[in-house]
Symmetry: none
Subunit: 403 residues, 2 copies
Amino acid sequence: MSDVVEQQVERGVQGKKIVLLVMDGLGGLPHPSSGKTELESARTPNLDALAGRGSLGMTVMVREGVTPGSGPGHLSLFGYDPLRFVIGRGALSALGVGLELEGGDVAARLNLATFDGAGLVVDRRAGRPSDTDAARVAARVQKEIKAPKGVTVTFVPEKEHRVVLHLRGTGLGGAALSDTDPLETGRPALAIEAHDEASRVTAEIVTDLLEQARRILGDEPRMNGFLARGFAAFERLPGMDERFGLKGAALAKYPMYRGVARLVGMTVPAVPSSTEDTVTQLEKCWGEPDLYFLHFKDTDTKGHDGDFDGKVAAIEAVDALVPRISALDPAVIIVTGDHSTPAVYREHSWHHVPVLLASQWGRPTAREFGESSCRAGDLGLIHATDLIPLALAHAGRLVKYGA
Amino acid sequence: MSDVVEQQVERGVQGKKIVLLVMDGLGGLPHPSSGKTELESARTPNLDALAGRGSLGMTVMVREGVTPGSGPGHLSLFGYDPLRFVIGRGALSALGVGLELEGGDVAARLNLATFDGAGLVVDRRAGRPSDTDAARVAARVQKEIKAPKGVTVTFVPEKEHRVVLHLRGTGLGGAALSDTDPLETGRPALAIEAHDEASRVTAEIVTDLLEQARRILGDEPRMNGFLARGFAAFERLPGMDERFGLKGAALAKYPMYRGVARLVGMTVPAVPSSTEDTVTQLEKCWGEPDLYFLHFKDTDTKGHDGDFDGKVAAIEAVDALVPRISALDPAVIIVTGDHSTPAVYREHSWHHVPVLLASQWGRPTAREFGESSCRAGDLGLIHATDLIPLALAHAGRLVKYGA
C-alpha cells in the first residue's frame, strides 16, 4: 500500500526531475550457448556507468508467477497496483489494441462466435480463427455497421477470435451491463441487462449493434456473430499529480503506452517517430513536467520474434541515447521494463524484471546492468509499485514519516 | 502480519533471552573515496565474529521509499507495524521531542502563526521562524500560561514553526478534537469541536490555552498565536508481553527511545549515562526481563553532523562492548538500526538497514557485518517487524504452526 507514501509527498517541489525509461519486455532468459541474457549480452557502457553510481534490483510486476500484459505492467511502474486500481478488462483490452480512451468511453471485449440457424451458439470462439481472418471480419462489420446518433463505434481485432468494441459519444450511458456469453454451446446468446438506470441506453445501443453484426455476418460460415464478455466504462484513475505530486509527460511511439500514461494523468507533449526521436522530444519538452516516461518498444518486438541478437541491438540503441538523458541532469533515472519478453520464450513472461535506479544517493554494487547484477543489488526484490516511492525518496520529494 | 506469530508464542519460557541492540541511524552510504559505508569502514572484530555464527539481512523499516522518524522506526523494530499500530501524530511528535507519555496524556501539534488585528490568519507558519526564534516564543508562552486546575501544560518547540503541546492530569478528557487551522489565510482560526462527550472538557481547556497564548504573544510581530493541527490521546499499545510473551527492559540514554519502549510495555530499569554505562546497566538488570533493548544514539548524531569518521568511531565504541553482552549468554542478539542516517546524506533516509541476528541456529554467510554482506545474507530483504518473530523463533519461544 502506498498510502503512507502519498501522505509524505512534498508538494510544489521545483526541479528534482525523474526519468522513467522503460524498455518494453526488457527482462530476458539466458542464451543457450553463452548463458547470458539479452541485457547481459548487450554492450551498454552508458547504462553500466549509471549502475556504477546507482542502485540495482529486481521487481515483481503484479504477483509472483503472473505474466503481465503491457497495461498492468505499466500501471505497476507508474505506482498503481493493477489489482487495486482496476480499470476493467474491456478498457485494458482497448488500451491494448491502441485505442486512446477518454473519460466516458465504453469498451467491451467481444468473442467472434458461431451461431446456428436457430440462433444457438455452436462454437463460442468461432473455431479460433487466425488473426488475419478475424481482422477481415471485424473490418467488414466496421464498414457496414450503422452507429446510433451521437456515438462513434469502433471494432478492433485483438487476437484470434477476440475483438474490442469501443464506443464514444454524448449518446452513451454507463457500462454496468451483463455479458451475452452463455458460457456453453447449444444455448442462445443472453440478453444484455443494465445493472443501473444510467446504463440502460448503453444496453439498447449494444444490443442493436450486436444484432446488426449478426445480419452483416449472416453469410459467414463460422464467424457469424459476437458474444460480449466484459463491459467497462473508462474512468480516469486518481492522477500521479494528485497521488505523488508528479506532473508526468509521456513520450511513447505506440498509442497503447500513451493511453496508459493518460490514464494516470500524464500529458503527451509529442509522439516520437523513432527510438532516437524519443530523446529529441524529451530534450524539447524538458522543463515543466516532474516525471518523464520514455517508452521503447523494440526490445519487446524482438523478444516476440525470438530474435535474441535483435533484442540485444535494441538495448544497445537505447544505451547510446543515455548520455543525452543524463545531460539534462535529472535527479533520478530509472531504467527497467514493464515485464520480461525473453527471446528464447517469444512471449511476455512472469520472470522478475531488472531495474536500475541512478541517483546521487545510490548504493552501487556493480558496474554492470544485467539480471545477475540486479539480483544482487541493493534494492533487493521489490514490487514494481515501489519504484515511484523510491524515485520520490531519491529525488527529495518525500518528507520524513513520524518524528 | 504477525498474528500467526502471536498465536504460536510459548508463554512462561525461562531463560532464552533476547538482546536487541540498536545503533540509531546505523545504515549508511558509501564514502566517496573508499566506496565503503560507515559500518563497512569500521573495525568491528566482535560484531564480525557474531556475523560468523549468525544470520545477516536487510530490512525495510516502514515501506519502500519511506524515511522513518525514530518513533516509527523503533515501533517496527519492536514488532509493531507503525501503519497498523497508529499512535497519533501528536503523540509521535511528543515522543519526538523527548516527552515521556503516560496513558491519558493528550498531545497536539501546533503551528506558530501570524494573526492580524481582526483575528484573521495572515501566515499559517509565521514566516517559518528559525528554531531559536520559535524556542524563545514557546518559552515565553510556557512561562506565562496559567494551566487549568489538575492539568500540567507543556509547550515544547519542535522545528521551525512547529510546537508540541502536551497535557497531563486528572482534569483532562479525551482528545477527539477538531483542528483550528483554517488551511488558508484570510480566515480566522476555527473553533475546536469535540467529536465525543468525553473530549468536551479537553476542548474547553485547549480553547482557553490557545486564547491565553494569543494574549501572551500579542506584541510579537509575527509569531502571535498558534494553530492546532492534530490532537492525540496517548493510549498504550498492546504490550510485547501480551503479544510476544516478552517482558522487555529498555536501556536508553535519551527520553524518546524510553518513551517508545514504554509504549509497548517495556520497563526502564535504569537510565544509562553513557555508551559504556548502557552495558553496565544491562549487566545489573540481567535476569527477570526476556528482552533487553539497548539504544545507542551517537551513530545517528554523527550521521546528522555529516561526520563519517565520527560515525565509524561510534560503531567501533559499541563493537568494543559486544563481548560483555555475549558473556551474559543471551539466546539471541540482534544488532541493527532504526533507519539509515548516512553521513554523506546528513539526514534520516529510506535506505534498507543492515541487520545481524546471532544465535546458535544461524546460517552464516560472511564473517563481516556490513551493508554488502547483509545484502547477500540468509535473512534476505525483510520487513523490520519480522525481526521479533525471528528472534522468538531462534530463542525457541515459538511452537510449531499446525501439526
